[in-house]
Subunit: 408 residues, 2 copies
DNA sequence: CAAGGTTTGTGATCCTTTCGTCGAAATCTG
DNA sequence: CAGATTTCGACGAAAGGATCACAAACCTTG
């Protein structure tokens, strides 16, 4: 019997929560701000800001530093600095050829970081979970900070609600209850959220990368498969149940090659790593080193390599054209494989994009390579893990996150 | 220097606005509710509801009726009823073969309605604008109600910010400043918003049609072209600048037929009306009557008609499969042509959809025909026009909308 | 028909949170 | 050093919902 679900009745306490959240979010996303910056940013009065900042400070999340004089007249405003060790999150990443973990502090500072390259095999779930748990325990011991959330980015189709990986074609996973398993093994009493690697990637680029300040973004991340994530109107595009953005399986050539998903002619079958390698005359599973070889060959003027890149570029443009018509992003970010080959495929891509996309949306969009590299999903997972804290900082005032306890 | 843009500082007056908005929206979308229903719906106290409803009542937007006894123990709660004539909107629709106008009252009641069929020609902008103005003036004179907003749905690519129709292939329009022109001609001092017909359609189905209560919806409306609109996470999918959802121009067959948009192999070229008619052996411009003929022939077992329908059904499934992977809707609504042929293409569509969509999102989605018919865009335009009122009812307390004035 | 239970409306008062305004403090400029 | 500028800190004011007690209206039961 809800009127709107979110538009539920508001009370004065709601206001404080929202304002506290706005301040915490501002500090987390933009770094240290003076109190007067916060006044300007929120439109609240100095009195209100003082009270709110004071609350955050006494809870330990921020510190107030003596005013820095910056040459302007008037009494200088003290700097409010998010304290990185007051609240941290654990971010985990499961990609096709590596797993990684990091601990990120409030404000976005990476405090600890480990990456473990893995042979590109079908990764055994038990091994991955166990290894991540070890890595996490190690990092936590080193950092010694309270954990307020856990974010996991995985190369697969993920149901947000419970972290079920319904399908991870490149990992060989089917219906793996990753969220539940990690939650049990890690024993961290803080919210855990699992998401698709590209969805995490676009969040990362939006918060701390090429898409800062842009509210309509499409992120395409090509590795073995092609993943995608989007920000639409400033919020992540997650469809029902939190699946969503599987743009690699857009049918672009229905009578084309068979795809690992069972269909034929998915976008992935025209722009994936395997296609590029095969068309360049290499083994489709030559991996990252193979891609390097293709690019070197192209630099040297090798016809076959250039043709392979042209093919991928053209089909990138075709698929992106369709996606531009549907989603109208202002920015398309190419990550992973496609970020690397961007300089080589740019012209073919743009030509085809110009042909496929409708003029009006076409005029708005630009295509750029990603700026965060391999760590994008990890950064995004961390950002996602911070969400509960940022949405309602007051809820964390009592408990200082999960320290070292596994019991209820 | 905004912290979030929307997450701007909140104050106590924000709370009242939000609560007033929640009540107004609840009444508009659900119809009359008792005060105790509102208490349950919003989570506010009886005192608060009393005060808020009182405010709406004294502004004239709602009336309170003597309690209806419904057999349950306890004091009966008076019914709060939105007053349809207290605030109305003007909705306009420009489709390929008809234009229409209606006046819709608060609560969603259609008070006046006119539709004018037009020969399917390139519609002259001046004529359309003039005719709509006449229709609107006529309706307004008959209704005599205050207008709080104007919504326009048009079969074209629309920039929301200013109502520019950048392209209306089936109308023969290019870069028509429809919003500005209508605003000038109508002379109504109330917000005017222009939107794509399919975007309006999905909003209508979401509020008052097949998708009530479903937060992830894809609406496909086939007429001469193929339009689309989506609701994602409860909110309309409008990309940058308010373009968006042009799913008819998804490339599904890059080496296929030429599309009116200039590209080749757009979805539209496989599932549009012209394709169905041509494959059934009729003239591609036989229009609605032609479609009827095809369906009758199919009923009679005509091979060619059945094959044509099978073709469209198959390609519908292909395109929808891709869109399911990207957007993960819970419901796909087929409107216009595709709603009419749904019974005939269902099997081919489902078969192909099952093959193209990934299992997880596939399992969530169902495909149904639209329930609102030709008026869907009109209803959606009205809903959109109500948005300013619903978002902040208090802003309308003083002025009772625009009555009959054209001056500033 | 009367008594008791249940639900809701009403009004007074309290609590929370922000706003507005004051004088004081800290800095730059001339 | 005086003046201008900007901010701080603190106080009371204002707004709005919550709480509580009580009355009203309905049902059920004997």
């Amino acid at each position: 019997m809800l009127v709107d679900g979110s538009d539920i009745g508001q009370r004065s306490e709601t206001v404080r929560r929202a304002n506290l959240s706005a301040i915490a979010r501002g500090l987390h996303e933009r770094g240290p701000l003076s109190r007067s910056d916060l006044v300007a940013a929120t439109g609240l009065t100095r009195s209100a800001i003082r009270s709110l900042v004071g609350e955050l400070a006494s809870a330990g999340f921020v510190t107030e530093e003596g005013a820095v004089r910056l040459g302007t007249p008037g009494r200088p405003s003290p700097l409010v600095r998010p304290d990185p060790v007051s609240a941290t999150v654990l971010a985990l990443e499961i990609l096709v050829d590596s797993i990684a973990a990091s601990i990120v502090g409030f404000g976005g500072v990476q405090l600890e970081h480990v990456r473990q390259d893995r042979p590109r095999l079908q990764l055994n779930v038990d091994d991955v979970v166990a290894d991540l748990a070890t890595m996490a325990a190690d990092l936590r011991a080193r950092a010694g900070t309270p954990i307020v959330g856990v974010g996991v980015a995985v190369a697969g189709v993920v149901r947000r609600s419970d972290g079920l990986v319904s399908m991870g074609p490149n990992l060989g996973w089917v219906d793996v209850p990753l969220g539940a398993r990690l939650d049990r093994v890690l024993g961290i009493r803080a919210p855990l959220v699992v998401t698709n690697d590209a969805d995490a990637g676009v969040l990362a680029e939006h918060r701390r990368g090429a898409a800062e300040g842009t509210d309509d973004v499409l992120f395409v991340s090509g590795e073995v498969g092609v993943g995608g994530g989007a920000i639409v109107g400033g919020r992540p595009l997650t469809g029902a149940a939190g699946y969503g953005g599987e743009i690699g399986h857009l049918p672009v050539n229905p009578d084309g090659a068979a795809c690992r998903c069972g269909a034929t002619g998915c976008w992935e079958t025209e722009v994936g790593e395997g296609v590029l390698l095969a068309r360049a005359g290499l083994a489709p599973d030559a991996g990252s080193a193979g891609v390097d070889a293709v690019l070197r060959a192209a630099d040297a003027g090798d016809e076959q390599a250039l043709a392979a890149l042209a093919h991928v570029g053209r089909w990138l443009g075709i698929g992106l054209g369709g996606l531009v018509n549907v989603l109208t992003p202002r920015l398309i970010i190419l990550g992973g494989l496609h970020g690397r080959i961007h300089p080589y495929v740019r012209d073919a891509l743009q030509a085809e994009l110009g042909r496929r996309a409708l003029p009006a949306p076409r005029a708005l969009v630009s295509v750029v390579p990603a700026t965060l590299g391999d760590d994008a999903p990890l950064v995004g997972a961390a950002e996602l893990a911070f969400e509960p804290l940022l949405a309602d900082p007051a809820a964390w005032f009592g408990r200082r996150g999960a320290m070292h306890l596994a019991s209820a």
